[in-house]
């Protein structure tokens, strides 16, 4: 029982990332009908928003501190972040410590802007082209974005720690009434899961309970009719692309403390996210989210020692195996609609 719970909670954080990326992919696919191979790159750019912000916050200038002497007896030079000058040292330290969560506020507008720019500048011209062309041009875009980040930030992973309060682990098992020290769980992963849950519910609520969301859903069902009713559906779909980019971006921001971001982290996630979307069913938002968590948990079960003894290496390929089985037995995925991508 403990082992079971342990694997489920272990799968939650990866599952959350899969679910968030797959949600964005499905949003883009459902609204614009475009298969976006650059979505992993958007996740990566989000992560680098956090890196950039924490670098900006620690920008410092040199101050000569008369109270301290270095070994030659001269007054020593101390690097003081500019942020101390604005907010004082105590507040400044707190802000630097919370750089990652604060980056969300920066990442949302930045990613929205990037998303809208990509849609207006590039993808707009590909609606009428073959799906193969859309895949190829977004694949090219992903390479370009990735290389730009590599040029500015280098190829090595950049550690970006979580706030002090969330560093370390806690005894999750004891809270649930199991024996102590069986299920030790890092705080930040729980934060990530909670954050993913909030973002996902926010997106669903936005689509379900606002007029804007209602129009978008109508457009997903029948774009032409909505257009005939005198609604500028293209504009709304562009905004949805921005929203999907923002979802991927904040998913990347919050993922930085779990895995230090590097320039190819997006590509690593992208392939798996496609698998998630296919398993969930192309075009089904709920399917994408459920399949994300399901596959994340399945992956963590597959990496259990007992399973690996029977089927060595299964943890590497479980997602692909599941995708192949699902595609062959339930061609529309778990919750796919009829008529999506069936030509």
């Amino acid at each position: 029982m403990e082992a079971l719970v342990l694997q489920i909670v272990n799968g939650l954080d990866k599952g959350s990332a899969y679910a968030l990326i797959a949600l964005g992919l499905t949003l883009i696919f459902g609204t614009l009908g475009v298969v976006n191979f650059a979505h992993g790159a958007l996740f990566m750019i989000g992560a680098f928003c956090a890196v950039t912000l924490s670098r900006l916050l620690t920008l410092s200038h040199v101050v000569i501190d008369d109270t301290k002497k270095d070994f030659l007896g001269n007054p020593s030079k101390v690097e003081v972040p500019y942020i101390y000058d604005f907010f004082g040292q105590a507040t400044g330290d707190v802000i630097i410590d919370w750089a990652v969560p604060i980056s969300i506020l920066v990442a949302i507008p930045v990613m929205m802007l990037i998303g809208v720019a990509i849609e207006r500048g590039l993808i707009k011209h590909f609606y009428k082209r073959a799906h193969a062309d859309q895949i190829l041009v977004t694949f090219g875009l992903a390479i370009v974005l990735q290389e730009i980040i590599k040029y500015f930030y280098g190829a090595n992973p950049i550690p970006t720690p979580a706030p002090d309060a969330f560093r370390g682990s806690f005894d999750f098992g004891a809270m649930l009434g199991f024996d102590p020290n069986v299920i030790i769980y890092p705080y930040w992963r729980l934060v990530y899961f909670g954050f993913a849950a909030i973002v996902i519910s926010a997106v669903f609520a936005f689509l379900q309970f606002t007029t804007f969301g209602m129009v978008v859903r109508a457009g997903m069902a029948d774009r032409e009719t909505v257009g005939l009713l005198g609604i500028n559906i293209d504009k709304r779909f562009t905004i949805m692309f921005g929203l999907a980019a923002a979802v991927a971006g904040v998913a990347g921001v919050m993922y930085t403390p779990i895995n230090s971001p590097n320039y190819h982290m997006g590509m690593d996630f992208l392939v798996l996210s496609f698998v998630v979307v296919v398993v969930g069913g192309m075009g089904s938002l709920l399917g994408a989210v459920l399949a994300g968590f399901l596959l994340g948990i399945l992956e963590s079960f597959a990496s259990m020692g007992a399973v690996l003894e029977v089927l060595p290496g299964i943890n590497q390929i479980i997602l692909y195996v599941v995708a192949i089985i699902i595609l062959l037995t339930r061609p529309r995925g778990l919750m796919g609609r009829a008529g999506v991508m069936e030509d």
């Binding site: 041009v137 090219g140 992903a142 290389e147 390929i317 991508m341």
Partner: protein, 402 residues
């Protein structure tokens, strides 16, 4: 001739002449000149031209004719590589069993993958092939390490059994050969300031590429090829006329898989090593790019695309800051610094950025690839000039893609 019409035969002749004379025209600059770094006539690179040419020709039979976009063809190349290296370790360093088995193994593997993947079409097919390729890559890296060598890959060792070869002479290392003709033996010819290199491995690979090209022409012009085009243009209608398209697409998939296996086997024959990174999905993306860049569905396009990509990869990634500075040395120093700063991100380590940009530009403006570009340029000149004004206009602004 050879069952080809006049035009195709001319094309085949052109390819034969180009590959045979490649050591000459790929080395247009004298060794001592500052432009010598643009020479591509060294054996390693020329071998890559023809081997990846084979790979792209095969991929084009699937993608160019049927329109099925496979994102997992590198898996077949990798499987062929592993098969070839094992033949070299177990039987003999002669490349014939190695290359033969690599084609067979890749064919069987692609039959299995194609049988499952081809149940779906469009984006699902792409994702299924991608999933299979990634699966093979992960397995080759982890569980299959006894067979694949994992991260270190495989190389022929002195201690390998090699039951057909006699014991190696003391101090000799195992080298790939064709009945004693070693792959890396070269003949160098110095003419004036020029140095031309003729490499055995290159010519063997080139002969195989010409044969592959000939087979591809025959497939393109056959009733079978026509069937594959029908799949691309309208699969539903094909179904309504009572033809099942699956045997045709599966055959195309297996043929292109065997081409990939041949390419993989030849890679091993040239450099005697195999590793899992050849199966990574960026390698699959690369062959897609070669085919698109040259022109999917055209005969010679993929070969040109493969050559261009491999050339740029080798040449552009070699340019560094010192070379750039030397180039722009004749300019005023301000201009020189600016130009170096602007160009630098795109060369050397930044080669992938250039690749990505090229990929996007080709897909956006030239979906038919280089061949379409050539056709457009040809059309500009062959059109009957109505007035000189017209022509200048047409040349000045190239028409957009759509």
């Amino acid at each position: 001739m050879l069952g080809l019409n006049r035009k195709d035969f001319q094309l085949l002749l052109l390819v034969i002449v180009l590959t045979a004379l490649a050591p000459f025209f790929l080395n247009p600059f004298p060794v001592e000149s500052s432009l010598a770094q643009f020479n591509a006539g060294y054996p390693d690179l020329m071998q890559r031209f023809v081997i990846f040419g084979i790979f792209a020709i095969g991929f084009n039979i699937l993608f160019g004719l049927t329109g099925y976009l496979s994102f997992g063809h590198a898996a077949f190349l990798g499987a062929g590589s592993y098969a070839a290296i094992w033949m070299m370790k177990l039987l003999t360093m002669n490349i014939i069993p190695a290359v033969t088995l690599s084609i067979i193994v890749a064919g069987v593997f692609s039959l299995a993958v194609g049988f499952i993947s081809l149940r779906r079409s469009g984006i699902y097919f792409s994702i299924l092939t991608l999933a299979f390729a990634q699966m093979s890559y992960s397995l080759a890296y982890s569980v299959l390490t006894p067979i694949t060598g994992g991260e270190t890959g495989l190389q022929p060792k002195i201690s390998d059994p090699r039951i057909f070869d006699g014991p190696l002479a003391a101090g000799a290392s195992p080298r790939a050969s064709l009945f004693g003709l070693e792959m890396n033996s070269t003949y160098e010819m110095a003419v004036g300031g020029w140095l031309f290199t003729f490499n055995v491995g290159y010519y063997i690979a080139a002969i195989l590429m010409v044969i592959s090209f000939y087979v591809a022409i025959r497939i393109f012009r056959s009733p079978f090829g026509l069937m594959l085009r029908a799949v691309k243009s309208n699969q539903n209608r094909l179904g309504y006329t009572g033809v099942s398209s699956r045997p045709y697409t599966l055959a195309a998939f297996v043929i292109s898989g065997m081409y990939a296996g041949l390419a993989g086997g030849l890679l091993v024959a040239m450099d005697s090593q195999a590793g899992a990174e050849r199966m990574f999905w960026t390698a699959s993306g690369e062959v897609v790019l070669m085919t698109i860049l040259g022109g999917a569905g055209t005969l010679i396009g993929p070969v040109l695309g493969a050559g261009l990509i491999k050339y740029l990869e080798n040449i552009v990634s070699k340019i560094n800051e010192t070379v750039l500075t030397a180039w722009f040395d004749w300019m005023p120093s301000v201009l020189q610094d600016i130009l170096v700063a602007v160009v630098y991100p795109f060369v050397g380590k930044g080669w992938h950025l250039t690749l990505g940009l090229m990929f996007m530009l080709v897909v956006i403006f030239l979906p038919g690839g280089l061949m379409e570009g050539l056709a457009r340029i040809g059309a500009l000149f062959s059109r009957k000039p109505k007035s000189s004004d017209d022509n200048v206009d047409g040349a000045a602004k190239p028409s957009p893609a759509e």
